[in-house]
Symmetry: C2
């Protein structure tokens, strides 16, 4: 997928990945993989950004001797998803504009 297109989808995808259940970095990447791929450096950058924007909270937990940082979505994060849904109407309008067989003079 076009990298610029990804930019507008990644944040909201990460939020969706932790929406139903708290999750951690490594797992988020795996869960998102069928839909959209991203590198670790990208994901951790996004998580930091979303935390700074209060769209998720984090708590560290130990699991099998390894450290895990569990992320939980906040109300602001859920609102971000709602905003994406609102944007979706515009995206559909743009899609129709781009895909319509332009011939008539409008």
């Amino acid at each position: 997928m076009d990298i610029q297109l990804k930019r507008g989808l990644l944040d909201v995808c990460v939020l969706a990945a932790i929406r139903s259940e708290d999750s951690y970095g490594y797992k988020i990447i795996k869960d998102m993989k069928p839909y959209i791929e991203l590198s670790e450096s990208t994901l951790y950058t996004i998580l930091k950004r979303l935390e700074a924007a209060n769209m998720l909270t984090v708590q560290t937990a130990e699991h099998g001797g390894r450290l895990r940082k569990y992320y939980r979505i906040t109300r602001a994060g859920e609102k971000r998803i709602e905003e994406f849904k609102a944007d979706w109407k515009e995206i559909l309008s743009i899609y129709r504009f781009v895909t319509k067989e332009g011939n008539d003079n409008d």
Copy 2:
């Protein structure tokens, strides 16, 4: 609309705006306005980029004493639109991922 989301749509929107008929900067902005808004500085940056990528060609013409640069889409530009259509399938998949498991109606 979210600015990051715009990033992935603007290029292809500009191409769509000149697809059916050659057009120029000022008119492109107006034609796109119902679907997506962009500033002049953004548009001219995009036109330069698309020209450098051979997705459009340009020819200058005078109109009522004022200079106009008419842009015409190339085969590469049309291919770019086709690539967007291909990306669309992934976008839909992501949309479903983001909006699913919301038991609440909306």
